[in-house]
């Protein structure tokens, strides 16, 4: 647990970066600090490992006052991931990851085997061990950055916009893997971002800060979307709040309609029960895309990849209402495809059915 107790950071020129901040980051959870630039989110984060010293107030790490621990001792107990990874260019990947174990005086062999274990954890192939940071892409470097922070198994991790310097596709992937990793390791994480979507996706709780270092609202992501406390938070959380909030509502077990399918590689069928669109699946019943029967001659062609419309998203059974609604909205036939955890077809659901689910769901209890 990390607890800010009326922490203030005032610079000599009078600028107040953080003003009387009270905040608790509970153990084993991800607390995201989010806000516009100049809101003091990075300053707050860096005060935890004393990269910046608070002007007044106390930051508690469990029941220890961080100001009473020698800075290098404190920092070795706290994992630290920064925006551009900041890997040591002269060290190989395996030695980069083993930085803190080396500092703690671990035996070299033990430190390296720990580091190889972490490479696997963060999804880096073992032959990267002897490479140098310059040989890695931005996303791979950031994986190394995360592994390095985890090396000595610190209970607490600080992450300063770790995914903001990589492209959106890699970012989504890193975020998904980060959440999966956190499920396994259950660290106390403080995560800084300027991206509200990232905050909502990753946070167990989100602290929205406003310029001048004031805490505007501390809430769960769902609560932030449904009940922003004032106009600033509402504006910052942005548009599509209602739609995005559906991402936190489970759709439960969706009752689906049977969907007629055609197999990839089979001849084009002579027509479908429900209009011109027919769902094409592979041999494992995994949906591949929709085929427009008006556009092909029946019986003559074999169904190939190139003929498919792939714009539709898939909803997973047991997933969120947002995924279910999006599947229905993005499907050219109007029938959203629902799959099981393995990705195999279960059936379909229409947008109006999802809306009925949304309207019928229990209102969230008032806090």
């Amino acid at each position: 647990m990390i607890r800010f107790d009326s922490v203030t950071k005032r610079y000599p020129d009078g600028t107040v970066a953080v003003d009387e901040l009270d905040l608790t980051a509970p153990s084993g959870k991800i607390t995201v600090l989010v806000g516009p630039s100049g809101c003091g989110k990075t300053t707050s984060l860096r005060m935890i490992n004393r990269m910046i010293e608070p002007t007044s107030g106390t930051i508690w790490l469990d029941d220890e006052d961080t100001a009473k621990i020698a800075t290098h001792e404190l920092r070795r107990k706290i994992g630290y991931v920064i925006q551009h990874a900041g890997l040591f260019p002269h060290r190989t990947i395996v030695d980069n990851i083993a930085t803190v174990p080396y500092l703690l005086g671990w035996d070299k062999k033990k430190a390296r085997s720990r580091s190889l274990e972490l490479m696997e954890r963060v999804g880096l192939p073992p032959h990267f061990a002897k490479r140098y940071p310059a040989q890695l892409s931005g996303g791979q470097q950031q994986r190394v950055g995360v592994a390095r922070a985890l090396a000595a198994d610190p209970p607490v991790m600080l992450m300063d916009e770790p995914f903001s310097a990589v492209d959106p596709v890699v970012r989504d992937q890193l975020q998904a893997e980060f959440l999966r990793l956190q499920e396994e390791i259950g660290k106390t994480i403080v995560f800084v971002t300027h991206d509200i979507d990232e905050a909502i996706k990753l946070g167990d709780q989100v602290a929205v800060l406003r310029v001048g270092g004031h805490l505007a609202q501390l809430a769960t992501p769902a609560e932030l979307l449904t009940r922003p406390v004032d106009a600033f938070v509402a504006g910052f959380v942005g548009r599509d709040r209602g739609y995005r909030a559906l991402g936190f509502s489970s759709a439960g077990t969706i009752s689906t309609h049977q969907e007629q399918t055609a197999a990839l590689g089979a001849p084009t069928p002579y027509g479908a029960e429900n209009g011109p669109w027919i769902l094409v699946v592979d041999e494992k019943q995994i949906p591949q895309g929709w085929l427009d029967l008006d556009g092909v001659k029946p019986g003559e062609n074999v169904i190939t990849d190139g003929m498919l419309y792939r714009g539709g998203t898939l909803a997973t059974q047991g997933g969120t209402l947002r995924a279910a609604l999006d599947a229905a909205l993005s499907s050219p036939s109007g029938r959203g495809v629902v799959v099981d955890d393995a990705g195999a077809l279960l059936g379909s659901i229409t947008a109006s059915e999802v809306l009925a689910l949304i309207e019928g769901r229990e209102r969230e209890p008032q806090p």
Partner: protein
């Protein structure tokens, strides 16, 4: 002219010491000794100082001041120091001449080493320095384990340029009555023996280039491949191969 220089260099009697003349080998040794001592002293002063200034950001005016030293007229300083120091030494010793020579050469070697070391440490990526402190390194660990190895390429280039300058300038030791390869240049000039004079110059240039090649080899060994970029081609950053396999499950989470 060129052929007479080659003849001079090829004459074995010029290489050995004789009763009347000191040979090339002996002068080469003397030249290396002057240069080596000066470079060692300059390195011992400028390297720690440069690391300290770069790391702390304090005393950075010293770098500018050291660079101003480059403007000193070398021969003038040498003569001045000799006049001041040499009369204090009596008897069969050349210490009174060696000290001024070394001082002049050290003054010459300090600025490139100091300013390059300072620049090297200053140029370390701030994110790398931030990460080093954030991992829990102490100030001296950051300096020795991160900043120093990362600034090695610049430090080497400073030391190599200092080496070239010192070896070339050490010829002036012969301006005051000391040995070194400059002996051939000054004697050749005085005796109007131009093959000897040019031969001396060729020897100095050859020595300087050999020293530079040697240092280049040391640099290749000392600087991490991750910094020098000497990395085998087929290992250069491949795009994240996992991108190609965005699975259905990931699409479903959109």
């Amino acid at each position: 002219m060129i052929s007479s220089v080659i003849t001079w260099l090829n004459d074995p009697s010029h290489w050995r010491d004789t009763r009347l003349n000191t040979g090339i080998i002996t002068q080469l040794e003397a030249h290396l000794r002057f240069s080596g001592i000066a470079l060692l002293i300059a390195l011992l002063i400028a390297l720690p100082l440069g690391l300290f200034i770069g790391h702390t950001g304090r005393l950075s005016w010293l770098v500018a001041a050291a660079n101003a030293l480059r403007a000193l007229p070398t021969v003038g300083v040498l003569v001045l120091l000799t006049v001041m120091i040499a009369p204090n030494f009596h008897g069969r010793t050349d210490t009174g001449y060696v000290i001024p020579t070394e001082i002049v050469l050290v003054l010459l070697a300090i600025p490139p080493i100091l300013s390059n070391t300072y620049a090297g440490v200053q140029n370390v990526d701030p994110a790398v320095r931030d990460a080093a402190f954030g991992m829990g390194m102490t100030g001296s660990q950051v300096l020795l384990r991160v900043e120093f190895p990362c600034s090695l390429p610049l430090i080497f280039s400073g030391f190599r340029s200092a080496t070239l300058q010192v070896i070339a300038t050490a010829t002036i030791a012969s301006y005051i009555p000391l040995g070194g390869l400059g002996r051939f240049i000054y004697d050749g000039l005085a005796q109007q023996d131009f093959p000897q004079m040019i031969g001396g110059g060729v020897l100095v240039a050859a020595l300087a280039l050999s020293a530079d090649l040697l240092l280049a080899a040391v640099q290749r060994y000392a600087v991490s491949r991750g910094i020098s970029g000497r990395i085998s081609k087929k290992q250069v950053a491949a795009p994240d191969s996992r991108l190609a396999t965005v699975t259905q499950a990931e699409v479903a989470t959109v």
